[in-house]
């Protein structure tokens, strides 16, 4: 009979190895899933993970897309990782993403058709504020009334989605759009367009910001007092309180930073890749980022790699749906399975698996 034996301390080797084991296991399970759907599993896996980067015909389109899709995932996951480390669960990043997009696009559209270099920076600030304010709702309710931040932040995603619908049908609707829902396309409004900075690389301001955020969060966690307090609170909440870490302050900080970053990601998305505020411009990056954060071990560098991998599944999933008719929901299921396998293999970090003969009490 198998038995779990606690390790004296977490295994560093397994911490690094388990994401790889989980990805491999997911590929096998995903292959079985694709096979059950009547597709050639090897072909499907190749199309999803190999072709977007290495196929000669496809990579010219797919490689730039990798950064376009990875940037919001990495940005959001970096923010979430702070709270997750401290046991503060902001799972409403999707809502903060939407509000950031609405605030950012709203500011940009308010200036239409003015031409100024200050418009885009203002939109960036507005996007961060939008996400920050939306995250402050669960933060303040938690600190003032001890309301569960998990439920509040998640429920606010639905509220944000209805606000988005209302905006694209009302306040922000394109006056020249012949009555169709959706705002003006920011891609055709020079001053507000989050354009590709270097042709055919997919690098836009969101990618640059993600790199900055990566460095900032890394320094924050490793070298700054806040990072120390976050790690302490996550590992020993009582000890943290005795050493003078204010739980309320930590909640405000973690939710505020993650909300602000998610808002930024939403703003970069709406002013660039998606282009306009529409009822469903958001594609669930806020939820996928939760998987990215865990797969990256809540570590900034890990998150970057995980973000690129998940971005690859988005692009590969699109290709597979064109070429094999693989349903797009299959990729969603695939991403969910990845999180399951990761959580399951986590046990290897803190426990050793031992074989035990017979059954002793």
């Amino acid at each position: 009979m198998l038995r779990l034996e606690p390790r004296a301390e977490p295994s560093r080797l397994m911490t690094a190895l388990t994401p790889l084991i989980a990805v491999t296991a997911t590929m096998i399970a995903g292959g079985i899933l694709f096979w059950l759907l009547g597709k050639n599993p090897f072909e499907a896996i190749r199309i999803i993970f190999w072709d977007p980067i290495f196929d000669e015909n496809l990579s010219s389109y797919a490689r730039p897309q990798l950064l376009v899709k990875a940037a919001p995932l990495i940005l959001i996951a970096l923010g979430l990782s702070l709270g997750f480390r401290a046991g503060i669960w902001n799972i409403g990043a999707e809502g903060q993403f939407i509000m950031g997009a609405i605030f950012g696009a709203g500011v940009g559209l308010a200036f239409y058709p003015a031409d100024s270099v200050f418009i885009f920076p203002l939109m960036i600030i507005a996007g961060a504020i939008g996400g920050f304010l939306w995250a402050m709702i669960p933060a303040i309710l938690k600190t003032q009334f001890n309301t569960n931040e998990i439920l509040v932040s998640l429920l606010l995603v639905y509220v944000a989605e209805f606000i988005l619908a209302s905006m694209s049908l009302g306040l922000l609707r394109n006056p020249e759009g012949a009555g169709f829902p959706g705002s003006r396309n920011l891609r055709s409004y020079e001053s507000a367009h989050n354009a590709e900075l270097i042709t055919n690389t997919g690098i836009h301001w969101g990618v640059i910001t993600a790199v900055f955020a990566l460095v900032a969060i890394y320094v924050l966690l490793q070298r700054h007092m806040i990072g120390y307090q976050i790690r302490l609170a996550g590992q020993a909440a009582r000890a943290a309180r005795f050493s003078g870490v204010s739980p309320n302050w930590l909640i405000i900080t973690c939710l505020g930073i993650s909300g602000g970053i998610a808002g930024l990601a939403g703003m970069f998305e709406v002013s660039g890749p998606s282009g306009q505020i529409s009822i469903d411009f958001n594609v669930g990056y806020g939820f996928t980022a939760i998987i990215v954060a865990f797969l990256g071990r809540l570590n900034p560098i890990g998150i970057t790699l995980a973000g690129l991998l998940l971005a690859l599944t988005y692009i590969g999933g699109e290709l597979a749906s064109f070429q094999l008719g693989l349903p797009s929901a299959a990729i969603q299921a695939f991403q969910g399975m990845l999180l399951f396998f990761l959580l399951a293999t986590d046990v290897l970090i803190n426990f050793r698996i031992r074989w035990r003969h017979g059954v002793a009490a």
Partner: protein, 308 residues
């Protein structure tokens, strides 16, 4: 709005309340056993598609519900194995359950999009149906409305008056003490988790078989999260879940009525009302003297490993 259809609203309340009532009572049992399963939304949506697909293929509503309960319980067992044997973080695992459930449901549901479901008839309650006032409100519903109330009654009785219920509550309050007394912590919790999954599955199936009734992607639209909030509202009491679900159902019915009646408020703002009300209720319950956290099971969300 000259004629305010109070009877239709009350009848609509019972229908609107049933999905979250089922999911909520299941989750309450799980939490009473000391486990926090945040995957209710995922189990509900799996129940919704399993129920719809099985009912459609077999042309039997009963089989549909059975399929939904099995589907929900199976997904819940994934959560059970991970959290109970591999001691994964319950919050993260619950989230994974929701994300995976939504993906798999969309995958299974693809052939069923746009198909009209089978008709679910009312329970023939004979003369009761024709009672004035009470008839249309209480006695002209499909069977699951009454089954849900029956499940609540059973849960209340079992938790309060039986040995099984006492053991379950003891495990939820202090799993180390319960373990020391020789109770099977993990087995009890796994059973509770499976029960919670089956109930959530039934709740989801009620959406796709009766309430809507057809299959659309993401059709649970947060009902699972509202069910989680419902447990807090109820302070982990069975009848509290019933009262909360009906209050919430009443508000939903009212909101839908206002939409249909063309109230001056835009539809989007009416549609977000249920979520905002849920948040407001959570705030009220968690603050001040009502402090719901005081009545939460003491071991809620804590991992248990007998060897430590």
């Amino acid at each position: 709005m000259t004629d305010f259809p109070i009877l239709a609203l009350l009848a609509g309340m019972m229908v609107a309340a049933t999905p979250i009532l089922l999911a909520g009572i299941g989750e309450m049992v799980v939490e009473k056993a000391g486990v926090l399963n945040l995957g209710v939304e995922g189990m509900m949506i799996i129940g919704a598609i399993c129920g719809f697909a099985v009912a459609y293929e077999t042309q039997s509503v009963t089989l549909g519900y059975i399929g939904a309960a099995l589907g929900g319980a199976m997904l819940a067992m994934v959560f059970g194995v991970l959290t109970q044997f591999l001691m994964t973080n319950q919050v993260a695992t619950g989230l994974a359950l929701t994300l995976t459930g939504l993906g798999f449901a969309a995958l299974i549901g693809q052939p069923y999009i746009g198909i009209k479901g089978i008709t679910v008839g009312d329970v023939p309650l004979g003369p009761l149906r024709d009672l004035p006032v009470l008839g249309p409100v209480l006695f002209q519903h499909d069977a699951m409305v009454y089954v849900a109330i029956f499940i609540v009654a059973c849960v209340w009785y079992v938790l309060r008056y039986t040995r099984t219920g006492l053991v379950l509550r003891a495990i939820g309050e202090n799993h180390h003490a319960a373990h020391a007394l020789g109770y099977k912590v993990i087995a009890t919790r796994l059973t509770a988790i499976a029960f919670g999954g089956a109930c959530a599955g039934l709740g989801g199936a009620y959406l796709s078989l009766v309430r809507v009734p057809q299959w659309t992607e993401g059709m649970t639209a947060g009902a699972g999260w509202i069910a989680l909030a419902l447990v807090v509202f109820a302070s982990w009491r069975a009848w509290g879940v019933l009262v909360g679900a009906y209050l919430f159902g009443g508000l939903t019915a009212l909101q839908l009525f206002l939409q249909a009646a063309g109230a001056a408020i835009p539809i989007e703002y009416l549609s977000m009302a249920p979520y905002i009300i849920t948040i407001v209720v959570l705030v009220i319950m968690s603050s001040g003297r009502a402090r719901a956290s005081l009545s939460a099971p003491a071991s809620l969300g804590q991992p248990f490993n007998a060897s430590t």
